[in-house]
């Protein structure tokens, strides 16, 4: 369980997050939605200790994440990272193998190799395993990064807009995969989504953020209403029901 208490954050004097308190329940998919600039990515980065925490507290299963051993944390929590441009020329398999670094410090065991193969297979990368990352498309590279943190085998996964760059088949495949991880293995997944329809279809919990604060939390069906969309996004979108499923109509 991730507990966030009174978290505030400013970047270059601009307040990004303001006094946020939030409980992310154990196991299941929690989706973060909200308009651009609401502070979703900042919140996720702080949860993954990518930025130093300024004010407030974040604990993971009772450990304060800013004082807990960072190497041990890497075995419980993973975030989908950005890879810098000047990163070395890596093959897909090399990149995915880095996911095992927190466990084996770079000396891969037989078990590690099996896990890497499974991760490559899960993201349809087996045929591409020896390709250099820089020769891949944006979506394939995204998949390689996903396979890396998949191989990391952590209980908690933080994903910042993982559906960017993915086509509809890959996006649905990924969401279905996350669903299986949550259902079968009881993992906790926190995911920033832009498309509310994906959140409605796949998430267990929804956290709506606006202007650096939490606007609403709950199950998708109780949270997402026409009124909320109007209030948070400032646009009128109808919600239609199709075979028991609620869908946000983004038509004109």
């Amino acid at each position: 369980m991730i507990l966030i208490r009174n978290l505030s954050h400013t970047i270059a004097g601009k307040p990004i997050l303001h006094d946020i308190s939030l409980d992310v329940p154990r196991s299941g998919i929690t989706a973060l939605i909200g308009p651009n600039g609401a502070g979703k990515s900042t919140l996720l980065s702080l949860m993954a200790r990518l930025m130093p925490r300024q004010q407030g507290q974040i604990t993971l299963d009772g450990h304060d994440i800013s004082t807990h051993d960072t190497a041990a944390l890497a075995r419980t929590l993973a975030i989908l990272p950005q890879i810098q441009d000047a990163a070395p020329r890596l093959s897909v398999a090399d990149l995915v193998a880095f996911g095992r670094y927190p466990h084996s410090r770079g000396r891969l065991t037989v078990e590690d190799h099996q896990i890497i193969d499974r991760a490559l297979d899960a993201f349809h990368l087996t045929d591409l395993r020896n390709r250099a990352l820089e020769t891949l498309s944006g979506g394939q590279r995204q998949n390689a990064l996903l396979a890396m943190i998949f191989a990391q085998g952590t209980d908690y996964l933080l994903l910042d807009e993982p559906l960017n760059n993915l086509d509809i088949a890959a996006a649905r495949g990924l969401m279905a995969q996350l669903r299986r991880l949550a259902n079968d293995q009881g993992r906790t997944i926190v995911i920033v989504l832009h498309d509310i329809n994906y959140a409605l279809a796949y998430a267990d919990h929804l956290v709506v953020m606006a202007k650096g604060g939490i606007a609403a939390t709950g199950t998708p069906s109780e949270v997402v209403t026409e009124d909320l969309i109007h209030r948070i996004y400032g646009t009128d979108a109808a919600i239609i029901t199709h075979q028991d499923r609620r869908i946000v109509d983004v038509g004109p």
Binding site: L50, A74, P81, Q82, Q84, D85, F98, R105, G106, R107
Partner: protein, 314 residues
């Protein structure tokens, strides 16, 4: 055959070393061998120190164009030496054993590197242009301050500094060899032991943090190691601007995998072949008409322009 480049380069280096020790020996072997062995050991040490410092600096700064000397590490070494002579006075500086002066200078460089480059790298890792500009400004500033200080001190005292400010592979400071060797062996051992960790650090701040690395702490450690290695090479032969860039770029061309476990030894071997082979040619074929550092800097400088114009930060 993945071990091929290492094997071939090792063979090449062995040939260079044997030739360096034996070519053109006239007169007593008992004098020539120890004399040349000292120089050879110095050249080897400098070669490995420079290539390793460059690889490590490129890893923590996240690009493939910048090297410690382009960012002004050597210039800072010269500045610290001048400051020491200025504040201690040349008499004291001369009376100090060279080893003590070297130790003071190295400590100063390590502190300076962490203070100046520690924050710079944390902030501008992704901004190559800003890093290059800052490096040029730092290097120019350090050189200007050094010159300014040298004007203010006695010409006799100035001699001491001047000796240390030019690259000279012909007259290596063999007095310093034992301490320099000790320091660089220690630094190289740490670098090698953490070779897998440098691979992770090369992925960038976020990815490395996700994999459980204390990025800031490890970056500072890397800068300390770079400073120690630069101190060794600058103290032994003076500043060499583009050798690191030249040999590390060649090493990257040589091997596709780019893990530190392969890049470090390959770069070290290429570096040693360049220095020892180059010195061999300069001493015997060209009878010392051109200093080796001029040739290396010419080639390295051209490569630097080529890389910049090609926009190859990766």
């Amino acid at each position: 055959m993945r071990s091929n480049p290492l094997f071939l380069l090792g063979l090449g280096l062995a040939a260079c070393m044997v030739l360096y020790m034996t070519v053109g020996v006239s007169g007593g072997w008992s004098f020539v061998l120890p004399f040349r062995a000292g120089k050879l050991a110095g050249l080897l040490l400098v070669a490995v120190a420079i290539s390793t410092a460059t690889v490590l600096f490129q890893t923590v700064s996240g690009n493939r164009i910048l090297t410690p000397s382009i960012m002004g590490f050597d210039a800072l070494y010269g500045l610290i030496l001048t400051a020491l002579v200025f504040f201690l006075g040349a008499q004291t500086a001369v009376r100090l054993p060279p080893v003590a002066l070297f130790a003071l200078n190295t400590t100063g460089l390590m502190a300076g590197a962490v203070l100046l480059f520690g924050t710079l790298i944390a902030q501008t890792r992704t901004d190559l242009l800003r890093m290059i500009l800052t490096g040029i400004i730092f290097a120019t500033l350090f050189r200007a301050l050094t010159l300014f200080w040298q004007r203010m001190i006695d010409p006799n005292e100035f001699q001491i500094i001047q000796v240390a400010s030019y690259a000279r592979f012909n007259r290596i400071e063999t007095d310093l060899l034992p301490l320099a060797a000790l320091l660089s062996f220690a630094a190289l051992a740490v670098v090698w032991r953490k070779r897998r960790q440098w691979d992770v650090l090369a992925l960038g701040h976020d990815a490395a943090t996700n994999l459980g690395l204390r990025v800031r702490q490890q970056t500072i450690l890397a800068l300390l190691l770079v400073a120690a290695l630069v101190s060794v090479s600058t103290a032994l032969v003076g500043p060499v601007a583009f050798l690191g860039l030249l040999v590390v770029s060649l090493a990257r061309l040589c091997d596709g995998s780019e893990t530190h476990a392969r890049l470090l030894p390959i770069a070290a071997l290429i570096s040693a072949i360049t220095l020892i082979g180059g010195q061999l040619v300069m001493e015997h074929a060209l009878s010392l008409s051109t200093p080796l550092s001029v040739v290396v800097d010419l080639l390295g400088g051209l490569l630097f322009f080529f890389l910049l114009l090609k926009g190859r930060s990766r």
